[in-house]
Amino acid sequence: MKAIDWITQVLEMAVALAAAPAFLGWLNQCRAWLQNRRAPSLWLPYRNLRKLFHKEAVIAENASPLFRVAPYVVFGTMVLAAGIIPSMGTRLPLVVSADAIALVGLFAAARMFMTLAAMDVGTAFGTLGARREMMVGFLAEPALLMVIFVASLISSSTALPVITGHLASGHLGLSPSLAFSAVAFILVLLAENARIPVDNPATHLELTMIHEAMVLEYSARHLALMEWAAQLKLFNYVCIGFALFFPWGVAVGRFGPEQLLVAIPALAVKLAAAGFALALIETISAKMRVMRIPEFLGTAFLFAVLGLLVHVLLRA
Amino acid sequence: MTHLPLGQQLLDTCAALLLLLSFAMLSQRRVVTLVNLYAVQGAVLAAATLLLAWRTGEEHLYVSAALTLVLKVAFLPWLLHRLIRRLGVYWDTEPLLKVSGTMLVGLVIVVFAFSLAQPITRLASTDTRSAIGIAVSVVLLAFLMMITRRKAMSQVVGFLSMENGVFFGAMSASYGMPMVVELGVALDVLVAVLVLGVFFFQIRERFDSLDLHHLETLKERD
């Protein structure tokens, strides 16, 4: 373990913390442009967070300690996740003790605390949101895991950096199994981050909302943490996508500061592109009914499993 | 069959008579006649036993002949007649199987019995061994009769004549059983009939009839 590894580790978390809101802002901007609206400022998310952090928090009388703990846990897990995903460098000290399966577990933990917190106050919206969130989760999670397994079968490891390193080493082109799982991954990403067509972050329409319904009872700092965590989640997913499918520019092997210096702009470029692509998808697709979501995710899961089978068949 | 000695011929005649009698019983529906036929069967049996005793000089056969005479010719028929009078059962109702049909089945059974008796006959050393087949068929015919009858009384008679058949078999196959056994058997038959007597009265006082269709309540089929 060299110092630079630790630096990378901290850097990744810091960058994630810093860039997550910006990425969301960028995404919204792209959407606005594509929909011929005047784009909000790129810094709007930051202002929101600042505003929220300076408000007085109101908590329902019958909220239990769990309700107050949840935001910190969710936020913490997301930050930690950012530390596990090799967005810039692959030699991350944390990773030896948390591989991709653990990463998915981490997401699951965040989801679990979020839903429990949502059920805690005992309002109609909270429980409704929790139920829908779990409905999304129990299909998205395995799909994500399957996507990762395809990659880890190719590179015979479940540790993300190893996978990235193996894929980044290039010699194999985009194999068909990876293509399958890439499609699956995009679907999962949309669902997990409450984007159109699964959820509409812009509205509070109870017939459709999922994520917003869960955080309805939160205010001020707690809400801020939740929002920030959501942005981090989106950021993390995008980074996972990079790590699995576009590992270019990531500092691989035993690298020095210079690779790192290359990695940062590379990440920025990729993020910009990804943001635009997501915005495009969201613009051209329409929000679907809640009961269609399982079919949507079922397709994702199916694709992932197909990817796995294709891999086995081709290898045979 | 003329070259056979007289005793032999007589014995065979007895055997034939026995078979004839059981057929008669099979066809007979009047209870009183049934009992009489049983008495006759007993008499023939006793005669056969005596004959055999005289020819072989087996003294214990005399005893069993006497037993037969006392028990099956005198006592049991008397007892049965008494019961019939006391209970007033004279007719058996129509048997389950038509008489003609019964006869046919009976014939088949006789054939079977004879084929059955072959190995025994081959084994037995007595010169009455040819009668074994008849003994077997008497037993089976009695069985058949018990199956086809509906009145308790006639079933009992069937039971007794079956016992006759067994006895005749014992005699023709091996000049009778050891004495102790014979006595035991006789005792059992006696007790059996006494018990039956008691039984009849119990049944009678319950159902004031000896028709067996009263005795068909204990069953699984519903």
């Binding site: - | 025994i120 050393s125 196959a173 050891p178 035991g184 039984f199 204990l218």
Partner: protein, 485 residues
Amino acid sequence: MELALLLGFPVLGAALLGLTGAHRRAPEINAALSLATFLASCALTVQVIRHGNLLLGDEQFFIDPFNVFLVALTAFVGLTTALFSRPYMRVELEHGRLTPGRLRLYHSMYQLFMFTMLLALTTNNMGLMWVAMEGATLSTVLLVTLYRTPESLEAGWKYFILCGVGIAQALFGTILLYVAAEKALGAQGVTALLWTHLDAVKTQLEPTVLALAFVFLLIGYGTKVGLVPLHSWLPDAHAEGPTPISAVLSGLLLNVALYAVVRSKVLVEGSLHSRLPSVLLMGFGLVSVVLASLLLWRQRDIKRLFAYSSIEHMGIATFAFGMGGPIANFAALLHMTVHSLTKSSIFFTAGHASQKAGTQVMEHIRGLITLSPTVGWGLMLGSLAILGVPPFGVFTSEFLILTTAMREQPWATPILLAALAVAFAGIFSKVQPMVFGETNGRRLPHAPALLPVFAHLAIVLMLGLYIPPYLAHWYRAAAHLIGGG
């Protein structure tokens, strides 16, 4: 000497109780005599264990491990049943189901029945055995009809006719045996029916005749064992007679009949070179097990239920004897023992239960465990034991039988498995609601006589966990006699 006592006490008792039966101490006398008989049997057992086989009364009586253990068992169950019937019959008398006169008949016949069974067991003479078996029927037929209800009369009639006819066949079989024996022994008269002699020359007996003889004997004694399809009398007789009689019929008479069958099987197998006897026994056994366990499902009368279970268990034992071999025979003997102990104890508790409920219909017997914990637990444990649940002895024998079958007759095991499962469902689904559940009845007015019950269950439990060496040795010797390796 012991033998004289053994056979003497019951005869004496029969006479005594027959003459002075109406005496109010009659039940005690009955119990005392049974106790005496039991002691005599113990003495005899000791004799056999010490000096090996005995030939007594100029060879008319023969005692070997096989029958002496049955003698001891018979005497023991006879004793416990007498103890049970003491309070039980008193209550029946109070309930007015009996008159003193009939009680007197009951007592003397009870002793006579014991005598006939002991005679059938101890005699060496196949003819005498037949006489004793017939005697056993005759002495019990009037006990079955003791209540004079229409059902009991019907049951008695069927019992009498079917067993009578059957036993007649057995007599014919005995005669055939005699004929064959005469040929082989050349000896006239008595000795030709002595089992010891027959056993000595069994290899020279003429096969075909013996095969026929065996069929007649099997039909004859098998009727008394209650082998399907000759069983029809059994459920009726067990259900309608007074409970102590059901207990001894099921617990003892069936054993004795099976004993007779096995004795004849030994002879026939010696002469026959085919496996005919084994096949026949196995077939009868299987058919009995299957049919009985199916019919268990439809029972509404508690004693009838357990009567069918007796058929089932006799079927199992018969099947085991049919398989032959040291272990199967051992298991079958063990099964006879534990079955008679367990089944009689079940009948005791069932008797108490139905006496309390005033009916034998199971729908009306509920919540025994709250009414009388002893009766409730007795019935529950007894049923579990009879269903072959460890640690009770029935499991031990079934364990040996099934494992042996798995090796020797694999084809039979699925049938047995299914039948046992069906039987379990059939019996337990009826016992459980009787023992558990709500009830509106009052507690028993009089203390039930449950020493016999729990004595039996304790022994069965012991046999399940630990078979004393001498007992094991005894069984093994018997199994060897029956012709295992």
